[in-house]
Each structure stands twice: as C-alpha cells, then as structure tokens.
C-alpha cells in the first residue's frame, strides 16, 4: 500500500539532510524511487524542513545499533579517513536508501556502503568479508531450509587468510582499549590503529550463528560444492558421490559423509 512508501520516504528524510535539501530543490528526482501519490508528495513537501532535524542524534543511534556488527571494519574505515563524515555519509548512500526502500537489514547496507566507499586500506576487504559473513549468518539462523541437503540455517562459508583474521582481532583490541577511556578520542596523541600486514596463509572459515571456526580445506570445498549444487536442484544423499567427484575428492562412503555433516550441524536435510 502506498502509505508504506510515504513512510519509507519519511525514514530517509529523518536521517539524510542531503535528501531533505534535494526534496526542495528537485522533488521529482528526490522522490522518484518512492512512487508517491500526488497527495502524499504534497504532504511530505509541506513539512517544515527543520522538523526533520529536531532529533540530531537519531542517525547516531541507528549507527550505534548497527555498527557493532561491523566494528572492526568501521574502525579501519575511520582510521583511514580520520573523519566521522565517512560514517554520517552512510545515510546519504544508495546502500541506505536501497535498504529502506526494500526492507533490507541496515547492517548489510552499511557493509555495502563501506565496500563501495573507495577506501584503500588493504586489510579492509578481508575484515569486512568476515564481519559481513557473521552478520549474514546471524540473520540466516531462522531460515526455513528447502528440500534436500543444504547448508544448515545460520551457516556461512568464507575463504579468507590469516592476515584478515589478525587485522580483525587487532581492530577489535584497539576499540577495546579506546573503550576503557573514551576521552582518548579527544587527544591528538591517542594510540593509532596498528594493523598487521595483509595476506598470509589461506584459511577456510565456517560461520555458525555469528561464531567463526576453522575448517580443513577439503571440508570447506565439500560444503561449498553442496551449497552450489543446492542452488540448482534439491541434493539427495545419493548425489554426494557425484558432487565430490566434481571437486576431485574421493571418500570411501559419500553418504556416510553426508550423515556426518548432518550430525555435526553443517548440513540440514529438508
């Protein structure tokens, strides 16, 4: 119903001063994505622009709610730009507007924003991939699985490297130390964020309800192959031999492997 579109436009206006400014300069363009009725457009345009800004901390509260799941990535991003405007600009980004328009999780929108922000710190992509996988995993936990064998709800697979994991841990440790005395943020001699070098040894991660664990490479490859196969058609236990053969893995009893992966909670069978 149309009032939901008006509600979405209001949400964007309450968080994005640039949108409010555009609303009065070029309302056609600013409001085009919301497809409002003429009367709804008129209602929104009739609002005193100052009213959108009365709660100046509203965007900060949203960031406070969503940033903890991407805390290392945010730390790396802000350490690079040394400007909080980097965080504030999230609300003017296509990622935020798109999330509001399409009812998507804001955490994932923030991850998309950081990924597209043109940042150059080499550790950021790896750290962001890990934190994003954790965020996706938490939101996937309640998924109702489809027919056949598939990754269990809440499981995400991620190929990464030891450098990304170390950078994630370094950023988290840095934030912990700052949190001991937030007054440090006021000081020019506050400790800098020191990240270990990027790269390192490949590692294969499974994220289960937001928790990371290391997987042997063959197991990672197996789960990945099942995940891919399940996107094409329901996977039966009898399909396991072919799936394993396609990735050049040989196991004595593929169906028993499937049973073991089900028992370990990596797979589900619908």
């Amino acid at each position: 119903m149309s009032h939901h579109s008006l509600q979405r436009a209001l949400v964007v206006a309450l968080h994005d001063p640039a949108f409010v400014a555009g609303l009065h300069v070029d309302p056609e363009t600013a409001l085009a994505p919301f497809r409002l009725e003429p009367a709804e457009r008129a209602q929104l345009l009739a609002v005193d622009p100052r009213a959108f800004a009365v709660d100046r901390l509203r965007p900060r509260r949203v960031l406070k709610a969503i940033a903890p799941e991407l805390q290392a990535s945010m730390a790396i991003a802000l350490a690079e730009t040394r400007s909080f405007a980097t965080a504030d600009r999230f609300f003017s980004s296509p990622a935020f507007h798109g999330a509001i328009l399409h009812d998507q999780p804001l955490v994932l929108a923030l991850a998309d924003y950081l990924a597209a922000a043109g940042l150059t710190t080499p550790q950021l992509p790896g750290v962001l991939a890990i934190e994003r996988a954790c965020a996706e995993s938490r939101r996937d936990a309640a998924r109702r699985p489809g027919p056949g064998l598939s990754l269990a709800p809440g499981i995400r697979l991620l190929a990464s490297d030891t450098g990304a994991l170390a950078a994630l841990q370094a950023a988290e440790q840095h934030l912990f130390e700052l949190s001991l005395l937030p007054h440090m943020a006021l000081c020019d001699d506050r400790p800098p964020l020191a990240l270990p070098p990027p790269g390192g040894t490949p590692i294969y991660l499974a994220v289960r309800a937001g928790e990371l664990s290391d997987l042997p490479e063959p197991l990672f490859r197996t789960l990945h192959a099942i995940e891919n196969a399940a996107t094409r058609a329901p996977v039966r236990r009898g399909d396991m031999a072919a799936i394993l053969a396609a990735i050049n893995l040989r196991v004595p009893d593929p169906e028993k492997l499937a049973a073991d992966l089900l028992a370990d909670g990596y797979l589900t069978e619908g």
């Binding site: 309450l14 009213a51 959108f52 009365v54 969503i66 999780p105």
Partner: protein, 287 residues
Amino acid sequence: MLAALPRLGVGISAEFDSSRRGIDALALRAAEPGLIDFLEYGCDLARGLDDHARRWAAAGLPATYHFLDLNLTEPLDADDGWLAATGALARELGAAWLCGDGGLWHFGPRDRGHETLLPPVLTRDSAAEMAEAIRRVAEATGLAVLPENPPAPIYLGDLHILDYFALVAEGSGGGLLLDCAHLAIFQRMMGHAPLTGLDGLPLDRVIEIHVAGGVMRDQEGFAWVEDDHQVEPLPDTWEIFEHVAARAQSLRAVVYECEKNPPDQVTDNFRRIRATLGWSSASRASE
C-alpha cells in the same frame, strides 16, 4: 476481553535497567505505600526482563508489558517467533495485557537495538493494517493488546491521530492506550487545541492512560516538544488527562512515565493523578 481486564490502578513505567539510575518501583512502593499499584515494563526481546522486573514479578505484584520491538503498522512483523517469545515474556512478568506504541520501532527486518520510534502514516489503510496486527497478536498471545498513540515532530497522513486510533479500535474490536503527553505533542505540532478531536475518540475503549513530562525545544526557530519523561508534564498534558479521566468509563490503569527521575520529585504528581481519578490503593483492593 476488555470487560474482563482488571483495574490495575496507578502504575509507574520502567525500561530495561532503568532502575539502576532511576526509580526502583519496589523501593518506592515500600517508601510511599499507596503511591503505585503496578509496573509497566518496556523492553524488546533482545534484552528481556531485567532484575528489577523479575523482582517485581516475584513479589506477585500487577504488571503490564510494553513492547519496544514490534511494528504494529505491519501485521507480518508479528511473526511466529516474536509472538511466542513475547507471550512467554509477558507471562513471566505476570502482565495483565500488552501495550506498545502504534508505529514503527525498526526499519526493515527487526534487528537488535533499533528502537527508533516513528508514528504511522495516518490513513485508513494504515489503521486497518494496525487493527489486523492487533488481532493477530491478541489471538496468538491470549492477551489484550492496547495500541498507544506515538510521539513525533512530524505526522503524515490525512487523519487526526485520534480519528486514526478510533478506526484502529473499531477494526480490532479492542481497547486503546491514550498517551496524554503524546497527544499534547500531536496537537501542538498540528496547531490544534489540546482537546481537539477527543469527541471522535471512543473513550469507552480507553483502557489505559499515560502521563509524562515533556519540554519545549527549538530547532533553528522551529518549536517542538521533546517527550523526555522528565518530572513535569506540560499543562496541555494535564488538561487532556483530566478531561479523559473524567469520561473514560472503562479506564483500568494510568501510568506516570517518570522512571528516570529522583523518587522524591515524582510523588506529588502521583498524588495529583490519584486525586484526579479518585482512586486510592485501598479502593482498588476492595474492587
């Protein structure tokens, strides 16, 4: 369902961890016998009951549960998981009913800690959806659900907020929670007198009333009211409360939302509320 609801009397609000810095309702009750009868506890499922609410429940005292994580304007937001967990939490608290602002507590999927309250767009379609959501929650939890008129600096839609909630009550067949402070905010923001539109609200559906402090603010010359729950309600809030209290024949509960303040600063307003209602703790117990 409404006729069977108990009269809870005069209550105090609490939110997760609010008693650590604000008012401990059990301590206030002990220090000022007859001042408060029940606790209205507000939280989301991510946080659940705090020690304060558990102690209140353990004492066997009356309570209501105010959810802070349901978009009551979106019937599907009350998914099976939320319904089951909220029903269980309310039972653990011993809640006589559920209530919550009729609006949006989150954007997109429910997530941790959003709590960014927005009012509904005030249209007939939206009111019909809220009524459907209320019926759904009430049916699943077995508890009455009282929608509350929310505060905001901006309201969109073609209806007066009281006409909107009159439609919600008609569609849900249920009761209403009238927040007098929030209504005072709406009336000021829309340029209405405090009592405008109350003749269109079915006052016999008003089961609960909220009274709370607010303060006038200025944003670059734009005057607005912040619903800050400080001690002193605006004069408009008192005017609305006194008008409605005298006419709401089904009224069962009044909450003074003051949990963040020093206890000694709120007692006079509790007494003023009691005097207006003519409700004493003793008379409540005898009913």
